[in-house]
């Protein structure tokens, strides 16, 4: 077990290192002088000089990397030339919003997916299973940006429910009721996407597990259906679910920007898009780095949970 965790941890560090190199090198992959990319063509020589000093652009590339890395390890992601604020502090205010949104959506998704998948798997091809499978399949084909657009159209425009439309975001600290209202539609949208994945994965695994001999064995011990479902079937079936959740939550952190952007919720995604729009290179680089590392960490945590749930994994 310990060896497994250590091995994964080594891999994690390796991946984070590669990500850091990637993010660092991104600017050199782009055509043109880095200073021009960052500052735009009409930058003043004074600004260029500051930038050169900040990034050490006149030094060899290896050294540049260490300067850059050193800054990052001190929590210094640079200061944006556009907004003239520290990138790190911008990220610090934006990140909690994403976390709240993801937590809300995952609670909704799991609360719906687990019991429904259990019901569905108990009688595969039964009426409920057919309805749920067809429904989830249809939802699978509706991108989240369409769901959120349609939700806004119906809920906030046609029904006129307050605080649900674009630009109604209020921080959790100032008014938690309005905050929840304003996050309702995006959280629901993200929950729908997650639900579809979780439901389908868990259902198909449960159906497979329920055909296993050890389930027959559990029945022949005289256990009740409920106990068999929860104690014997759920845990071995949840490995793929956890794997999917890890990837999906990482994906939400990286790809949740669409809903944020549409509703003007100032999370990381929204900040990223505005950064791109204003060609704020340092901000984009900082967010890419933070999100990538976040995704890798989330995957690591879920891999760990999986290895606890299924002892077979660490033994391979």
């Amino acid at each position: 077990m310990l060896r497994y965790v250590l091995r994964r941890l080594t891999l994690l560090i390796g991946i984070v290192w590669v990500i850091s190199v990637g993010s660092f090198y991104l600017i050199h992959l782009l055509p043109g002088d880095p200073a021009t990319v960052i500052l735009g063509t009409g930058a003043s020589p004074a600004n260029r000089a500051i930038l050169y000093r900040q990034l050490g652009l006149n030094k060899p590339i290896i050294e540049q990397y260490f300067v850059w890395m050193g800054n990052i390890l001190h929590g210094n992601l640079g200061t944006s030339f556009i907004s003239e604020t520290s990138v790190a502090s911008t990220i610090r205010t934006a990140l909690p919003i994403d976390v709240e949104l993801i937590v809300l959506s995952q609670i909704l998704a799991f609360a719906a997916a687990i019991p429904l998948a259990m019901r569905s798997a108990r009688k595969p091809n039964g009426v409920l299973d057919r309805i749920l499978s067809a429904g989830s399949f249809t939802l699978l084909s509706i991108p989240s940006f369409i769901i959120i657009v349609l939700l806004v159209l119906v809920v906030s425009i046609k029904l006129g429910i307050a605080n649900t439309g674009p630009s109604s975001y209020v921080s959790l600290g100032s008014d938690w009721v309005v905050n929840l209202e304003s996050l309702a539609l995006p959280a629901f949208t993200l929950a729908v996407g997650s639900f579809v994945i979780y439901f389908r994965v868990l259902r198909s695994d449960l159906i497979a597990t329920l055909q296993e001999e050890f389930i027959t064995m559990a029945r022949s011990k005289g256990l009740r259906q409920r106990r068999i479902m929860w104690r014997h079937a759920f845990r071995p079936s949840s490995v793929a679910l956890l794997g999917a959740a890890g990837v999906n939550i990482g994906g939400l952190l990286a790809g949740g920007f669409v809903v944020e952007y549409l509703l003007g919720i100032p999370g990381l995604g929204y900040t990223l898009i505005t950064g791109i729009a204003s060609s704020d290179y340092l901000l984009v680089q900082g967010i890419v780095l933070v999100v990538s590392v976040g995704v890798v960490l989330i995957n690591f945590v879920f891999d760990f949970i999986i290895s606890v749930v299924d002892p077979r994994i660490t033994r391979e």
Binding site: I15, G243, V296
Partner: protein, 287 residues
Amino acid sequence: MSSVLDDVVDPEALAPKRLGALFWICVGWLALNVLGAIFANVLPLVNPLYQNYNAINAGPSLHHWLGTDDLGRDILSRIVYGSRVSITVGIGAMVIGFGIGLPLGMLAAFRRGRLDSLLTAFMYVFLAFPAIIAVIAVLSFWTPRSLFKIIVVIGLASVPLVYRVIRTATLAVAARDFVTAAKVQGATDRRILVKELLPNIAPIAVSFLLIGVATVVTLEGVLAFLGLSVNPPTPSWGNMINESRTVMAQNPWLVLFPSLALCLFLLCLNFIGDRLRTYFDVTEVKL
């Protein structure tokens, strides 16, 4: 032991296999979309960029079957022309993704050894990196944007995913005895790859290809929302949905029709992929 397993009657195994009518309806719809995209110039459609100021935000009518947008452009025509972008990006990116990922994945899984370890480690690092962020980051700073660049960036970003799916599938097939048997009969590696492995991973590859196209088409929509897809006024499904948001309250058709076109397209792709998997009895490869 299979002799004992035979004793258990499995109703599923005895069922005659059929693709079903819905499958062919989906194939038909996709074909219609693709043909429309190819022959859009020849079809009796209004120029999608022509602005008819006499019919702004018009609802569906005989003249404009699906109505017009806020600039008086014909929605049906824009949807048909817009499908060109979506379909080109979807197919183009997957051609790149499979062109690179499929041979590499098969080779790595078949040869194993150092080539496999190196390639797989490399690909897995890229997999850990959120592809969507990478695509956005590269596209946002790689100006001026063009359809070609979008296809290349998405295509390259999909290589690690394709590689993983194909490699996993090939590993499963390569472990079977008939591959060893071919080796033992003196077949060359190339012959084994083409004659023994490829036909057996083809069902998985095709079904993943369809799902891949669906994902890329969705991604194009996302890019359009961020203004990173083709530049307006060239229509794409994503562009159309994005532009219509501002006038959503006045003209809901503007959101609904392109959304419907996109969703139906995705639904058909997903459904065909899903049916093919069941038909060829492929256990679901987690995507």
